[in-house]
Symmetry: C2
DNA sequence: CTGAAAGCGCTTACAG
DNA sequence: CTGAAAGCGCTTACAG
């Protein structure tokens, strides 16, 4: 099973050249003579040589990996994002170091510390909910290009730094959804789901509030309802919408998972979403197209976002002097039956 | 931005001990005196030292990574699997090297070659469709613990080797679905979707055929219909089911994506799945629970499979002499409305 | 209990 | 055009 790994020294011995010459051949230098190159290459093949990139990186003080730390890989939005990141990194000759945090800031610290020991060239981080900018700074240091995706960690120490930031246009997206419901005649519109202390939830609530106010509708604080951003918790908290008469006739949901949970909860109460109550989501996960009824939502093309994030990080690896950038990605409204409920 | 990284030598200088002593402290050896340890640890903190695991691995001839190469991360089944793998590897102090192949055997060869240069301790591979066992052997060599998940590559050179294999009980799963439809009174049952040359499709077809025969129903070759294992292609090929009278009244589908595509196609023809035509899937992806109607399917808990795969690989890393194992994972039938169509 | 020296598998000036 | 020597950041016998 485990014979010793073939090294450059074995090749040099095998073909009678020095290790330096073999190294030059390996990396395609024009220096070695064609005849030398051919002999070395034959020997490489003969012995089944595999390049040891870790050793090369150590000597060259470079890195050929980028860390991707993601809050929840089982969410299709982040899985697509990860696929996009890996596409672009792979094409550029980098390998992706994957780490999942399961939305736990403590676990995130451990994962990041472990990543740092593996010396990545840069890091793409979709922070766990409740991440603290100071803690992140402590573990990531000042030396490494970092791109933060999707959520802004709490605390100013972070924003004062030189990290890139890429996020969806949450405010405008929620505004689009809210206006869409207003256009269908709704006036009593709730904002359902999400944790009020997460940056994306705050921004979406803001877009919702602004759209209401622009239409002359006064936002009702009781109708901003917090839930965990999951289907289960959303379904459990649906009662909060109907505490008082008159109840809302529509809800802008924090994301698709929440919207799907809300639709299940409505059905359990004998209300048919899309007919008796209008619902919108956010993310356009695959389930949105096949739910009952299909879900009106906002699409952001997470795979393309992943590619964009990876390109940006590679850019900063090549040019560490580059200024940090805040990228806001447009989202587009996908209109489906869940929001077509009309007002009696 | 980029001051030099702090090394063990810097720490040794900073606190007046030798590098050897600092190294012992770092790795928690009992040799250094408590007082020495305290001084070294203070200096480590003061300078913000980060361990360089690549250098340590080089010296120790060990590896602290495991490669995870997956055919399609945007498929929630594999995303969950990846999350499970990463959970277990992370808890054991390993980092996950992620690589996606997009179902292309050529790209898979490139990704695997790149992984090999990063010297993983082992590799978990969910092969791209059409993978060749010989090609895999060429790039992976004989030295590395390998676990193949979900699909069996073509060619005997592979099976003669010492790789672990972990797959769902495709045969029994398809048999369960087929018997379920037979129990509902169906006799004209198609097997819809998948590529006939993939191992999982062959096994599922076999389970289907055996269940029919056990019930005294003769399988109809025209009703084994090939498609790409995607929603889109399945929807496009639905006509093949209705070429000839009498047409089937039910279909065991290769997987959930195919089943969802079939249901869309049925609806487009004015047939209501679950009332006019019975459908079953395979995988229990999240969409299965929220489709119209909800999809009867087979569940295999991909996250638990990922953990299982990672544990197995770590076991073989610790004990390279271990014999290869073929693990067949049970699946369970989840009954939902899509299969409740009754026969007139 | 601590330190000097060699070595993991590469690359990089520098001679020749 | 090719080779001998030093060094990347660690660890590991071996002295003392």
């Amino acid at each position: 099973m485990s014979a010793r790994r073939v090294t450059l020294t074995d090749i040099a011995r095998g073909c009678g050249f020095s290790r330096a010459t073999v190294s030059l051949v390996l990396r395609g230098s024009p220096l070695p003579a064609a005849k030398t190159r051919a002999k070395v290459e034959a020997e490489l093949k003969r012995q089944g040589y595999v390049y040891n990139r870790a050793a090369a990186n150590l000597r060259q003080r470079r890195s050929s990996s980028v860390a991707l730390v993601v809050n929840d890989l089982s969410n299709p939005f982040f899985a697509e994002f990860a696929a996009g990141v890996d596409d672009t990194l792979g094409a550029a000759g980098y390998v992706t170091l994957l780490g999942g945090t399961g939305e736990s800031p403590e676990r995130q610290q451990r994962v990041l510390a472990s990543m740092m020991e593996h010396d990545p060239a840069g890091i793409i981080l979709s922070p766990a909910e409740g991440s603290d900018g100071g803690d992140l700074r402590d573990v990531l240091g000042h030396r490494l290009p970092v791109l933060v995706f999707n959520r802004e960690p709490a605390h100013a120490r972070w924003s004062a730094s030189h990290w890139d930031y890429l996020a969806l246009d949450n405010r405008r997206g929620a505004g689009l959804a809210t206006r869409h419901l207003l256009d269908h005649g709704h006036r009593r519109i709730a904002f359902f789901g999400g944790h009020a202390d997460s940056s994306s939830c705050r921004e979406r609530r803001r877009g919702y509030t602004e759209a209401l106010e622009a239409a002359g509708v006064r936002p009702e604080p009781e109708w901003m309802i917090e839930t965990a951003p999951t289907r289960l918790d959303a379904a459990a908290r649906i009662g909060a919408l109907f505490m008082r008469e008159p109840a809302p006739t529509a809800a802008v949901c924090y994301n698709d998972a929440v919207a799907l949970g809300l639709m299940l909860g409505l059905a359990a109460r004998g209300l048919k979403p899309g007919r008796d109550f209008a619902v919108t989501g956010f993310d356009d996960i695959p389930e949105a197209a096949v739910s009952t009824p299909p879900l009106t939502t906002l699409a952001a093309d997470p795979r393309a976002r992943g590619r964009q994030a990876a390109e940006r990080i590679l850019e900063r690896v090549r040019r560490p002097d580059l200024d940090a950038v805040r990228g806001i990605v447009p989202v587009r409204l996908i209109i489906r039956a869940s929001s077509e409920a009309t007002i009696a």
